[in-house]
Symmetry: C2
Subunit: 322 residues, 2 copies
């Protein structure tokens, strides 16, 4: 069976997540350009991307650039910038994009797509499940998973007007899923990705800040009854806010069990928030526990634990890295 | 006017707090022995105690020992061990104490006196307000304040049976206050110290864990609206637990204002919890936010923020110092 041709792919903000999915597409034959920081771009141009995955470490030749030009002829643009840069990224991309380009937000947080729409970029949402980090320029460390859920943000563009039609994943979402599927990336489709985005936010709210503040990987967290109780509190608040938003999401008990399984599957992982703090970088806390707390305040849902975690991470952001 | 003679004083567990008050009494003429760790004792015997206080740094000659013998002839024993060592300390002291010795708990937390009573030591409670640390063996750094509130724990031994009599500070509390007063240590008397112990616990619950987890001194904490909101939450829970305990304590709004003033007066201070974590030592969290959370659970008072702070500090205790 012949595969249809690949789109040109631009990875905008190629950190750990962007390098991972860009590399998977490149290995499958797609023409991919990683757009990222000078240090990574220099290392990748010189030595290729060191894809460091248990039992499957290899170097991957892949185009890399610090400039935006590769976006101009891309049929697929993976947006992987930090959530605090979402609006800036959308404004930079808007004048460059081909009219038929598919833009996929592969970021943490639940509001990247509406924030990009405000800048005129109508993106799809991907919910990313992968444990990766960049311990050195051009060095991608893959610690676990590597799968996606893709869908529209909110109701998909009406195909026929009846409920059955509206509940189908959009054509562009199906196309994106087929590309990732060909690259060996498990990619589940949802008509409306919001429930999955919030489910991921629940997981991030349970792990990210606690891992950072406790300077712990996930295993010791889920082994500790007190930390589990804290995670359960954070999850409960997050689910209450999601429901107040009108988002369909599993109940808190089920998500808590999912969180324990996730921690068990990724015992050695440290959160991106922890990595950010240890490098003295700003975190994405505003899009994680901070978003839950902010929306909770607006919607009248008490979120003392998410507030506490947010305030503590922000306080840590202003002190020296460790 | 002649001062009556001084009691012999033993400071049991002479860390920063014990060295501070022991030194004040010694400078006023009391025969004081600091009982502490070998490193401190060695340095103090060799060079005296370096009392490092803004504008008044000096070396103080003072007896120091690693053994318990000095307790045997002491008329005043200042117990300054970490709260996790309270029961062990009381069991060690009980067989050594003179029948007329006055034992004064100068520790954090609200339940040291009842825990010592279980071991047969009937101590007075002191609530200590001082910012000190030991940056090196024999080196006491004094950053602010240095005053006490002293009283019985619970109702004082009945003097006459009527309410007026019962509300008077006990004779031994008055004696202790007179000794500290002669040494230039402001010492307020309370008949029942529990309200003041809880008030101090409120302050510790608002500052200690947050300073440690955020790796921040107090000034930046009170400057940050989010951290202030977190402190207000922690204080509110603590006051609710105190009231459920039947302890008379000011209302949460007033204590929050007090906390802001304390933070302003001690902008450069870091909490003892922060110092403990940065040295890789166990903290007193079980007697601080952990106590609030535990008593809250027993008494049916929700304490999500104190639970969160406790779980995070405990998680940090198990990771490497920084």
């Amino acid at each position: 069976m012949q595969h249809p041709s690949w789109p040109r792919v631009a990875v905008y903000g190629a950190g750990a997540v962007g390098c991972f999915f860009g590399a998977k597409l490149a290995e499958a034959g797609a023409p991919v350009t990683l757009i990222g920081r000078a240090a990574h771009v220099g290392a990748i141009r010189r030595d290729g991307l060191l894809f460091d995955s248990p039992g499957a470490t290899r170097r991957i030749r892949i185009a890399a650039d610090t400039g935006h030009e590769a976006v101009r002829d891309a049929g697929l643009v993976l947006v992987c910038v930090k959530t605090r840069d979402t609006a800036d990224a959308a404004r930079a991309l808007a004048p460059l994009l081909r009219p038929d380009a598919v833009v996929l937000s592969m970021q943490n947080g639940v509001d990247n797509v509406p924030r990009m729409r405000e800048a005129g970029v109508d993106a799809l949402a991907a919910v990313v499940y992968v444990a990766t980090s960049m311990p050195a320029p051009g060095h991608l460390l893959h610690a676990g998973r590597g799968d996606l859920v893709v869908g529209e943000y909110g109701a998909p563009p009406a195909g026929g007007g009846n409920d059955v039609e509206a509940a189908r994943p959009s054509a562009r979402a199906r196309e994106v899923a087929s590309w990732f599927g060909r690259a060996g990336v498990p990619c589940r489709l949802e008509a409306d990705a919001r429930g999955e985005l919030w489910t991921k936010l629940v997981m991030n709210s349970a792990f990210n800040a606690i891992s950072a503040l406790g300077r712990s990987c996930y295993g010791p967290m889920i082994d500790d009854p007190e930390v589990r109780a804290l995670m359960r509190d954070a999850i409960g608040e997050c689910v209450a806010v999601a429901r107040a938003e009108g988002v369909t999401i599993p109940d808190a008990g089920r998500l808590y069990e999912d969180a324990l399984r996730l921690g068990e599957a990724m015992r050695e992982a440290r959160s991106s928030t922890s990595q950010d703090l240890s490098r003295g970088r700003a975190t994405e806390i505003d899009s994680l526990n901070g978003y839950v707390a902010r929306r909770g305040q607006t919607l009248g849902v008490a979120t003392p634990v998410n507030r506490a975690l947010t305030a503590l991470v922000r306080l840590r952001e202003r002190t020296a890295p460790a």
